[in-house]
């Protein structure tokens, strides 16, 4: 009888020490940390130990913009206490429609600094250390100190850099060397969240084709047969500026420069009877502006932090969890109702960053090395804009130093078949990345 009573009235521990205001403040969070759930593994540490563990976690946030502001707030309110943030940008007035930690008076100040200060001020007991600079300023010894990295970036290049750095740091003998990377991105009403466990799940480079660059308009179209208002703007941007204001560095944030481009583009459009060139479009094309709103950033940043919280606490399964076939990607679209697709993006054997084999590409042996370089820039799964190309035995083309560039320049006008045989491997490096990309060229 006694036992039955115990069994049916089993109580679940409430957070201890509720007289303590700190415990009362985190009451809701602690329910989750103290109580078992249907999907919480039995071996997960719960209770006060879980709280301590979470508080010891060191998290790095990359980006203090639209996603970054939200991420900092979310992490601070998820029980993380030791947060670092990197961003090189300063605040612009066009940030204020979504980057809610900034005010009109902050325009021109460093984002990371203002954001860190605001969140620390609002959420007592959280420490946020800001670094106003580039992620490339820091090396492995810096990244080593963190347990989790959460990215809210708008640049593919920066994502690829941190990804390659983190994959490179993995030492399979040392579990601490594996730094889970949670990455978010948005455009308009759409976005995605992905979790990368370096060298275990598909990395950013495996997924590079998802960030395919827009097809560039051929120069001859811009120069001789424009048809769209964007063609006129690109003409002003790429050709007219170079011809008429050579020496002036184009600053896309300088209204005088944008006005000049706009007026040039408008005049050219009129000559060709093309309509639709506006100041706003000029700015959009020249700065490659991606529409961004508070609500989408809120969704994606929160999803990223939810994953970071689950990774840190095991209080539910996270994306990218080590089990085979576990989902690691959530794509989100709010254009037409709400639609998400959560799936497992497969790791690639021939990924230049985390794979083991060279990537096979079919090329025309009659292609000139010069055109092969353009191909490397355009290929969705390469996107290498300043390639230096070597084979095991010879240097095909070097971007720098100038002496080597000069010595290899003549190869640019040679056909691939003169330089290589089908099946040969080339190593490509690019100043934007720390690693070599390996390609095996198969002639069509």
């Amino acid at each position: 009888m006694e036992e039955e009573f115990e069994e049916s009235h089993r109580t679940v521990p409430k957070p201890k020490g509720m007289a303590d205001p700190e415990a009362r403040r985190w009451e809701y969070l602690r329910y989750i940390l103290y109580r078992p759930g249907p999907w919480v593994p039995e071996e997960a540490t719960q209770g006060t130990e879980a709280v301590k563990f979470l508080e010891r976690m060191k998290v790095l946030v990359i980006g203090a913009g639209g996603l970054g502001c939200e991420i900092l707030k979310n992490l601070a309110l998820s029980g993380f206490k030791d947060i670092h943030v990197i961003d090189m940008d300063t605040i612009d007035v066009s940030n204020l429609n979504r980057q809610f930690l900034f005010r009109q008076a902050d325009v021109g100040k460093y984002k990371a600094e203002v954001a860190a200060k605001f969140v620390m001020n609002r959420v007592k007991g959280v420490s946020i250390e800001a670094y106003c600079g580039k992620i490339q300023d820091k090396d492995e010894s810096y990244y080593k100190q963190f347990n989790i990295i959460v990215c809210g970036l708008d640049s593919v290049e920066a994502r690829r850099w941190i990804n390659a750095t983190l994959v490179d740091m993995v030492d399979l003998e040392d579990g601490d060397s594996i730094k889970p990377l949670v990455d978010g991105g948005t455009e308009g009403f759409k976005g995605q969240t992905r979790v990368i466990i370096p060298s275990f799940t598909a990395c950013i480079e495996c997924q590079l084709e998802l960030n395919a660059p827009r097809a560039a308009v051929p120069l001859c179209t811009l120069a001789t047969i424009p048809r769209q208002p964007q063609h006129c703007i690109e003409w002003a941007h790429i050709i007219a500026w170079e011809e008429e204001r050579k020496g002036d560095t184009l600053d896309t944030d300088d209204p005088e420069h944008i006005t000049w481009l706009y007026q040039k583009a408008a005049k050219r459009a009129a000559e060709f009877n093309i309509t639709g060139v506006t100041y706003s479009m000029t700015q959009g094309v020249v700065k490659n502006i991606i529409p961004a709103i508070a609500s989408t950033n809120a969704i994606i940043a929160a999803s990223c932090c939810n994953e970071a919280f689950k990774i840190a606490t095991a209080m539910n399964p996270s994306l990218g969890a080590p089990a085979e076939g576990e989902n690691n990607y959530m794509m989100y679209s709010g254009d037409d109702g709400v639609y998400t697709y959560t799936y497992s993006y497969e790791k690639k054997e021939d990924c230049p960053v985390c794979g083991i084999t060279a990537k096979k590409i079919e090329v025309d042996g009659e292609m000139y090395l010069r055109n092969f370089m353009d191909l490397l820039a355009e290929m969705p799964d390469a996107q290498l804009k300043k390639p230096t190309i070597r084979t095991e035995g010879q240097s095909l083309y070097y971007q720098a130093p100038a002496s080597l560039e000069e010595a290899t320049r003549h190869n640019l006008s040679k056909k691939l078949s003169e330089l290589l045989s089908s099946g040969d491997e080339v190593a490509v490096s690019d100043p934007a990345y720390t690693i070599d990309f390996r390609f095996q060229l198969i002639f069509k």
């Binding site: 009235h9 109580t11 205001p21 985190w26 329910y31 989750i32 959420v123 006005t259 709400v338």
Partner: protein, 566 residues
């Protein structure tokens, strides 16, 4: 140089345009104006973080006015979940501090706070009249929720009801019975309508002019004939040997591609991009422009067929376009032409032929609209702009049928009506989160039954030695099973015993996870929900994009959403 004024920046944006630039690129000045004319009421209760995050995401883009109804006092627990409250606010009125901290986000917005008990507020005549959108966060008494829902139905005011508990969240939208949208922002890939199988005389004349002597053209000219004209030309060639019919089947379209391919001068070093574009466009564009089922649904709806003097503009224009469709067998031409390899002047000429046809279609529709206005004796003519915008997106308009919110009361059943069958089908689908929706219905019953203790209570005294959760789980699960049984009965379906068991066991896990959170919010889930609900609010207010119809569930355990109609 002193005395000189800086150059006038022609077309340069105003301060407001600069601040809102990144969103104006989505919903344009018209959407922004609609936002600025809106007044949102948030009826906030419980931990209340999701509601506040929603408001944040509406204040930042510059909603005109918002009002927070909140009669709670700030407690320690608020600080752990709500970013817009701080230590010094403890013990004060939550709504008051929220108002101040939210107002700081955007001086353009008018943020207000009201604190009368909800029952008193709702008892006042016209208390809800000022609001153009109402968002309700529970716990809220079922009587109050009913009253709000009825007010919104009677006044065609959109209502959003949301939950955010632990790793889960939910919202249901009660839209007006008829919620039509013109500016749905379809994927640009789907909007090209070239009418290749239904050219009009001016287009055919242009084809004739620009493809005359095609074979004899030099490479420069041959490689610059726009692909639209090439395709129209080769269709005529094809027809000569196919009883005057264009390629229709998949097989014929492929044969047609070969015909075009044989004419391309691909051996020259540059290839022929226009021929490549022509071949690539065949499968996508060789269709008769048949209206989608969504468009036909609009034409068939009683509001379109029985227009009156007081019909909304949408229905008058829809009626005119359905007449246009009846006469012409096609919708008005949108008139845009994608970019393609061509010389500037040829492209502009082609573009002009499409634009002029589109303009003439607009003129026809406008004529029909004016006739209707006269017949009905409508005092205000519809602006031409509105007719034009409608014609341009006629193939992508959408009608959402709002349904009343399901308000559940202890001891009573909810009605599923026409949705019962599909709801039961979804229950059997392990990927659907409808079980989570039903768990939230059970949660509302639980909250109504235990207003001062248990998982739904905000102000229950935390104890050191623990609280009993099992009775919460059991009671909620019982309620949920009852809702499921009633639903299955209403649908007229019978389920196998083991299937029913599986459904119940799956759903009971939702209950367990909800009970685990004890009615508390996780900030991440609250923030995510606030993002989702704000997106929907923006879509409803701007009447752009397509809103959720009508219920969305988020599962933060497995990072998935479901949309269901209840």
């Amino acid at each position: 140089m002193p005395g000189t004024t800086p150059p006038v920046l022609e077309g340069a944006p105003t301060d407001k345009q600069k601040k809102y630039d990144r969103q104006l690129r989505l919903w344009a000045a018209s959407g922004q104006q609609a936002l600025e004319e809106a007044h949102v009421l948030l009826i906030n209760a419980g931990p209340g973080a999701a509601g506040v995050e929603t408001l944040k995401n509406l204040i930042l883009p510059g909603i005109g006015k918002c009002t927070i109804h909140d009669d709670c006092k700030v407690q320690d627990a608020d600080l752990g979940v709500n970013f817009f409250l701080e230590q010094s606010n403890i013990g004060g009125s939550r709504g008051d501090f929220l108002k101040n901290n939210l107002q700081e986000l955007n001086p353009d917005v008018d943020v207000n706070w009201i604190w009368d008990p909800l029952e008193d507020l709702l008892a006042k005549h016209d208390a809800l009249k000022p609001y153009t959108l109402i968002i309700v966060v529970p716990p809220v008494h079922p009587n109050s929720l009913s009253k709000i829902s009825q007010h919104c139905q009677a006044t065609d005011t959109p209502l959003i009801y949301l939950h955010s508990v632990g790793f889960y969240s939910h919202f249901t939208m009660q839209l007006p019975y008829a919620f039509p949208i013109v500016d749905t922002h379809p994927d640009p890939e789907t909007t090209t309508d070239l009418r290749l199988l239904k050219p009009w005389p001016e287009l055919s004349a242009l084809v004739e002019q620009k493809t005359r002597g095609l074979e004899a053209m030099d490479n420069e000219d041959h490689g610059h004939v726009p692909y639209v004209l090439l395709l129209l030309h080769y269709i005529e060639v094809w027809k000569l040997s196919h009883d005057g019919k264009p390629p229709q089947t998949y097989k014929e379209k492929n044969e047609f591609k070969q015909l075009v391919s044989a004419e391309g001068r691909f051996s020259q070093p540059e290839g022929e991009e226009n021929y490549e574009q022509a071949i690539a466009a065949v499968l996508k564009n060789f269709n008769y422009p048949e209206p989608s089922s969504a468009v036909k649904e609009v034409f068939k709806s009683p509001e379109c067929q029985n227009i009156t003097v007081s019909s909304a503009n949408f229905w008058i224009i829809a009626n005119a376009i359905s007449q246009f469709y009846g006469t012409n067998g096609v919708l008005p031409l949108p008139g845009s032409v994608p970019d393609m390899k061509a010389k500037s002047a040829d492209y502009i000429q082609l573009q002009t032929v499409y634009k002029e046809k589109a303009r003439s279609d607009v003129a026809t529709v406008l004529g029909l609209v004016r006739d209707l206005e006269q017949e009905l004796g409508r005092p205000q003519p519809i602006e031409e702009r509105e007719v034009e915008a409608f014609c341009k997106n006629a193939a992508h308009i959408k009608l959402v049928r709002g349904r009343p919110l399901q308000v559940i009361r202890p001891g009573e059943n909810v009605e599923w009506g026409v949705q019962a069958k599909s709801a039961v089908n979804k229950l059997s689908d392990p990927d659907s989160l409808i079980g989570l929706y039903i768990a939230f219905l059970a949660y509302d019953v639980f909250c109504a039954n235990h207003s001062s203790h248990g998982i739904g209570a905000r102000a229950h005294e935390p104890t050191e030695d623990g609280v009993d959760l099992d009775w919460n789980s059991e009671e909620m699960a019982e309620t949920m099973y009852k809702i499921i049984d009633v639903l299955i009965k209403e649908s007229g379906r019978t389920l196998e015993e083991d299937e029913l068991e599986e459904i119940k066991s799956r759903s009971s896990k939702f209950v367990a996870e909800i009970v685990r959170a004890a009615g508390g919010e996780l900030h991440n889930i609250a923030a995510l929900t606030g993002g989702l609900v704000a997106q929907e609010a923006i879509k409803i207010i701007t009447k752009q994009y397509v809103p959720v119809d009508n219920t969305c569930l988020f599962d933060g355990v497995f990072s998935k959403t479901s949309v269901i109609r209840v």
